[in-house]
């Protein structure tokens, strides 16, 4: 067991996978000599060589498209899109191609592809280095969309993603890269894709979150415990698609109150689907209306501190709404 931050865990896990299996290779912008702009592939070029550490042209659609071709011919490519904000040119390759290759060939072909990308705000990334993209892709059957938020889950889910026969969009919240640390077992293990996780047990209400908002929700829950004696259960979604309804519904049925916290624009965000699922399936277990906390419906968060802060839910906002919900 070693204490690591999130980006170090990404680095070490990829390193181990490449050491163990020569079908695994990485490709993307600046992944080679630069070692990735967040250093996720630092030292890879020297260790594994150019054929396995591919500095691609600045062309996102073909980063994904070329990786699809590799996946169709026996390799296990891990493509990096430098920022989630820049994945949009590859939307067609993700949605029309990767997601449908198995379905459209009636199971004759598969596409074992991983696309890693840093997402989310809180780093003065402004309009084009802060976006949330999970709901665009969570809407597409055939894609798995994962959002691990702790070093332990990052390692287990990254190995599970590389080992998965289907395309996985692997979202890494960039604010957590160096902020969040935790113990990571040194030996290989997987954390299953499609399983949520109760990160904190509680009895008065359930907060459902992922990414940076998971950590804010955990902090808010602790504050309410300390200040008010309110017991908040926190569920880490971990996989946006396919969504683990069972774990979410079991928790909400137990506490009777649900709050969904996400930093994407509220409307049509992943929180909307989670809220709808709760309302549809266990409405009579609820003691209060479902609360949704999300970003406002403006195009994105601004660069200036006050603008960014106004966009992103924080511990104060979350704990205040938790308290309201607890006393509803």
């Amino acid at each position: 067991m070693t204490e690591k931050n999130v980006v170090q865990t990404v680095h070490d896990t990829l390193w181990d996978a490449m050491k163990a299996d020569d079908r695994v290779l990485v490709l993307g912008e600046d992944v080679g000599a630069r070692g990735g702009v967040f250093r996720a592939t630092a030292g890879f070029l020297e260790e594994f060589g150019e054929p396995r550490v591919i500095d691609t042209p600045l062309a996102e659609s073909s980063i994904v498209g070329v990786a699809i071709g590799m996946a169709l011919h026996g390799l296990l490519p891990v493509a990096e899109i430098q920022f989630a904000d820049f994945i949009h040119p590859a939307f067609d390759q993700m949605v029309s191609e990767a997601a449908r290759i198995r379905y459209r060939s009636d199971g004759d072909f598969g596409c074992p592809l991983v696309v890693r990308t840093p997402w989310g705000g809180g780093v003065h990334g402004a309009l084009y280095h802060s976006q949330s993209i999970e709901s665009f892709y969570g809407h597409v059957p055939g894609l798995k969309v994962v959002v691990p938020s702790t070093p332990y889950d990052v390692k287990g889910m990254l190995l599970a993603a590389i080992d998965d026969p289907d395309p996985v969009l692997f979202l890494e919240h960039k604010k957590t890269y160096r902020l969040i640390k935790g113990g990571v077992p040194d030996e290989p293990y997987t954390v299953p894709i499609g399983k949520a996780d109760v990160k904190r047990e509680g009895t008065d209400l359930t907060a459902i979150a992922y990414g940076l908002m998971l950590h804010h929700s955990l902090e808010a829950a602790q504050r309410l415990q300390d200040d008010e004696g309110i017991s908040v259960e926190v569920v880490d979604v971990r996989t946006i698609a396919p969504l683990d309804k069972e774990t979410i519904l079991a928790s909400v049925a137990k506490t009777g109150k649900a709050m969904v916290v996400y930093e994407d624009n509220r409307t049509y965000g992943a929180g909307a689907e989670i809220s709808a699922t709760i309302a549809e399936e266990i409405m009579f277990d609820l003691d209060a209306p479902v609360v949704r906390i999300g970003g406002p419906d403006v195009p994105a968060m601004g660069f200036a501190g006050p603008l960014e802060h106004a966009f992103m839910p924080d511990v104060d906002k979350i704990s205040a709404r938790m308290k309201e919900l607890a006393y509803f």
Binding site: A20, V66, I68, F109, P112, L159, I162
Partner: protein, 349 residues
Amino acid sequence: MATRTKTAAGTRHEALGLTDPDLLQMYRTMVMARLCDEAQFRLNRQGKAPFVVPVSGHEGCQIGTAWPYRKGKDIFVPYYRDMGICLVAGMGPRDVFLAVFGKKDDPSSGGRQMPAHWSSSRLGIITGSSPIATQIPHAAGIAYAMKYRGEDAVVGCWFGDGATSEGDWHEGLNFSGIHRLPVVWYCENNKYAISVPLSKQMAVANVADRASAYGFEGVVVQGNDVLACYEASRHAIDKARSGGGPTLIELKTYRFHPHTSDDDDRTYRPREEVEEAKRNDSIILFGNHLKELGVLDDDGIERLRAEVKAEVDAEVDKSWDAEDPAAESGMLRVFAEPGQTMGLKGLGG
């Protein structure tokens, strides 16, 4: 007329290493594509086939370029007009019509995709979609994997002239040039992307001219001269297989029918232009060539056509009677079966 036959070294095809039976088989495959096309249009007009994509006019360039590939080793990445490519790769009329009727045993998709969205892992035909040029980066990635794995294999990737305007086309060719990948790019340039003429698609005379921007050779070939197509393709394949990198081959061709069964080309193509192209039909030209060589005579051509037509008609009937996919099967095969993995090494499982 493209009927230069005798040379000092013998006949043109012998110089290319092709035998008389090879030529006969190539001609038969061209006729097969044409008669499948005629049958699928007939079925469309009868209301039995909701939508079909014609190949007529492209047979020469498709059969000629696909012929030199090594089946079971090389990979085909076709687009929707490439029935001829897929017949060379190993599909037959049954495969064509099971797809036309959307049947359960359609090898390309089990009735999920529109017809002409060719696919067969067994035959090395990569599944394709309808958005244009998305297969170009796939072909580059497959070629990269072949090189990475040290395989003695080549990817052939076919597309129309409209595809060359897409960003994916540029990105894929660029990547293949950077890494000198074993891939051959074929543009079946029939002068129109549905209705939009070349003059509104590009400001250069030839698609092949663009190859220089990617650091490899571009070649223009008359697409109705099947042996010229074969020759250019074989040369490019040999080059790719021996580490010489990609080639862009532009095949000047023409489609005789509208874009699809749902198109009407009368608003955008003068009838005289279509009729002129039909007079230069690769099947007529190649048939004449075979007659001059003495490989076939008029009776032989008629017999061959009759045989192929009988085979096509029989396969149409069998395909029509084949089983439909069960409605509930549409819920299946979104993902791999639960528990299936890629066997990633180091996981200890």
